[in-house]
Amino acid sequence: MTEPSSTDLLRVPWPHGPRSVTTGPVLETRSRVRSGVTTAVDVTREALDRVRTVNPTLNALTQVFDDAALRHAALVDDAIARGQGDSLPLAGVPIAIKDNICLGPDLNSDLGSVLGSGRTPGYGGFTTCASRMLEHYRSPYTATAAQRLIDAGAIIIGKANMDEFGMGSSTERSIHGPTRNPHDRARVAGGSSGGSAAAVASGMVATALGSDTGGSIRQPASFCGCVGLKPTYGKVSRHGLVAYASSLDQIGPLTCTVGDAAAVLDVISGHDPLDATSDNALREHASDGLAAPIADVVLGVPRQIVETAQGTAAGDVLAQAIEHFRSRGVTVIEVDFPGIDFGIAAYYIIATAEASSNLARFDGVRYGRRHPLAAGEGLDALYVKSRTAGFGEEVRKRIMLGTHVLSSGYYDAYYATALRARAVIRADYATAFERGCHAVLMPTTPGTAFRLGEKTEDALTMYLEDVYTVGVNLAGLPAVSIPFEPRPGSLPMGIQLVGRPFGEASLLRITSV
């Protein structure tokens, strides 16, 4: 079979300008399916055909649920025929789920009663986290966010590739092999939700769920020309998300447009008693009033970023974004962010410390593949051999780093200090909002997508890819990356807007200015 051309790999020809419009494949599909212009089954067949054409080149999806997706789509069509379309806000919308989000088995033999039953229509499959450790792991339950999508009528086409356990910025560290960027297959898709971003950008699915611990939704969205939304910590339940760093992890959508992101967020967000950190206050729906005019918007731009990014691609895209917003009557002011220099150091201490604890359960006994032992070897050997064989090199390295920063004699110097830095970073954002900023504007990434293999040999260089994204996770704030073109003819690159806690509705509205 002939490989598709670069143009064929993209759903929307690039460049397409800022994608801060309110319609997109999610809302269009929902409308067409609900109104009977097409059926969920036909949309699903089209998506599966697209996967067969494009995925062998990109390696964005690692499992495809042909049969379950078509069964689910038929149920959605039945529900619409019964006049229940209004209760399916994502009717027939094809979606991918990052492979660290659990999908359980089919618990119901009567598929006709699945919708609204809180059960899955036979998706199941493996939840591998792109790790040898969980290569054959089948989850006994479904993540709350995924269940809400299923109940809303979204059709899960497949599981999306990722860096192992979310530890990476390129989706090169996966047992399934690297995901390639639809804009240039010699380049990475970003990470760790690179499979999700590539699947959306290439039109295999209308939207995808990712998870963002230090930028893992926004950075691949930037590289692939998508919209990537990292919600406020607690906005979306983490129940069923395999934990990397529990105080930082958050599930969110990748989409083609801001309007689509709002529609998906409205479905997956809301209180969940299965996640003790889930927000239990009533909040404005992100979709409400998205297209309504908003006046007197003030954006803050960190002075330190303006100074250090000058002359780089990040500086170019920031200048372009400032001009874009100013031309639409937005006031843009410089704000002081003294904590920004501490972000990467604090993040890689806190994240690896939490990872060393969270991943302790993968020992070949409680979870994960068990390595064979030689005669006479004991329990310690079982743990060490299973973990050494099951985890990839980067995961082992981060576990060791986290173990070290928490170990006796180093805790205060590293972990306690990182918590202080976290407070400084949070205070930077709080001060900007107190000064009247509705959001903080900054680049999503230092540059456009880099070449496959370019940064795998130098851990620190790869970590510095997250320089603009980690602060948002440390502060627990919502942020959205929307695509810009830094220079004519260049690859896409994201600009990031960071909002107030639980201010997703306002944040997304600002992008539409």
Binding site: L107, T388, A418, G476
Partner: protein, 104 residues
Amino acid sequence: MPPTLSAAEVSRIAVLAKVHIEPADIDRTRADLAAVLGYMEILRTLPPSPPEGTAGATGPETPTRHRLADDTPGIMLPVEALIAMAPASSGRCVRIPKVLGEGS
């Protein structure tokens, strides 16, 4: 904060983390960890202040009430479904290998 690590320290960390490093890989691992730890030296320039906890990551300005769920039975996975998923079973029980001495 030591910006460098000795080979012995790397081996000690590996023991604590329950992973094995081949002797030939220790130098490379040491260099990688030292580079990252060296970068973290920037935290020395932080002004003194008390650390904050990790609970309530969005801070006091958003009074989200975090609490554990009520301790009541919820929807359970049917035994038949669980057995069907298990790699091995015996009657209505999941069969798991011994930790030591069988299938290990």
